[in-house]
């Protein structure tokens, strides 16, 4: 079920990661985020989309505008059916990586958003939900 405030994008290639960045930017503007906050949430989206591609071979993201009283915000839900994360605490540690990167994707993304939720278990895929509120 999708409303005009909600859309689903696939993440199956490097090109899709670029499209996710562009779409997140467009919706962040719509949600009234400042330029710095737009930049932060687009950067977080880029990290999380790449994670889905690199670690799970692909996935999808739901982009939606959320409201809390007078405030509006942007919520991104990344889901994949990949191998999952055995040790979530370790995965959220700066510098920890199993993919040859810098190990800043998850931990850095968490710092760039207001709300961060990570659900995963081995064999169960990974679900990351992040929210950035307008100020």
């Amino acid at each position: 079920m999708t409303s005009p405030d909600e859309q689903l994008l696939p993440i199956n290639s490097n090109g899709d990661v670029v499209l996710v960045r562009q779409q997140v930017r467009a919706v962040a503007i719509q949600a009234g985020l400042s330029l710095v906050d737009q930049t932060k949430v687009v950067t977080a989206a880029s990290e999380l989309a790449r994670n889905a591609l690199v670690y799970a071979g692909g996935g999808q993201v739901k982009i939606e505008i959320v409201r809390n009283g007078a405030r509006s915000g942007l919520r991104l839900t990344f889901s994949d059916d990949g191998p999952g994360i055995p040790d979530i605490e370790q995965a959220l540690t700066d510098g920890w990586t199993t993919g040859g990167g810098l190990g800043l994707g998850l931990s850095g993304s968490r710092r760039l958003v207001d709300e961060f939720d990570l659900q995963s278990a081995p064999g169960k895929g990974t679900l990351v939900t992040v929210t950035k509120w307008s100020r």
């Binding site: 930049t39 950067t43 990290e47 790449r50 810098l102």
Partner: protein, 126 residues
């Protein structure tokens, strides 16, 4: 995949990133630059990111990698034109880009390279 053009000005190679970079384009740029440094004997590399709206950890790592590769090949790298929002986001992300020189704009980047190794730039007054 889009390829980023590399311009030569005297002893300096200039790369101005004008597109939303795919990871594959980032990797291609690293290799193209290394080849071009050796081909031209360039002493400096300037990466202009004035038009770049976000730098994530992958692109940030490219800057550090290009700086390291360039140094191996006897050239210095300067990243110029970073937007304030990008700088704020990079620091919060945890990427300090230690080892990568920056300058506010192209002009200051060229001046920094000249100061560093006395490279002779075609356009600069002697």
């Amino acid at each position: 995949m889009d390829r980023v053009p590399i311009l030569k000005l005297g002893d300096i190679l200039i790369v101005s990133i004008q597109i939303d970079l795919e990871d594959q384009s980032v990797l291609a740029l690293q290799e193209d630059l290394a080849d071009k440094i050796v081909d031209t004997g360039a002493r400096g590399v300037i990466i202009d990111i004035t038009a770049v709206e976000i730098v994530d950890s992958f692109i940030g790592r490219m800057f550090a990698t290009i700086a390291s590769i360039s140094r191996m090949l006897d050239a210095e790298t300067v990243v110029v034109g970073m937007r304030p929002a990008v700088a704020i986001t990079l620091v919060e992300l945890g990427l300090s880009l230690g080892g990568v020189r920056t300058a506010l704009n192209l002009e200051k980047g060229v001046a920094l390279l000249n100061h560093l190794d006395g490279a002779q730039i075609a356009a600069a007054p002697r």
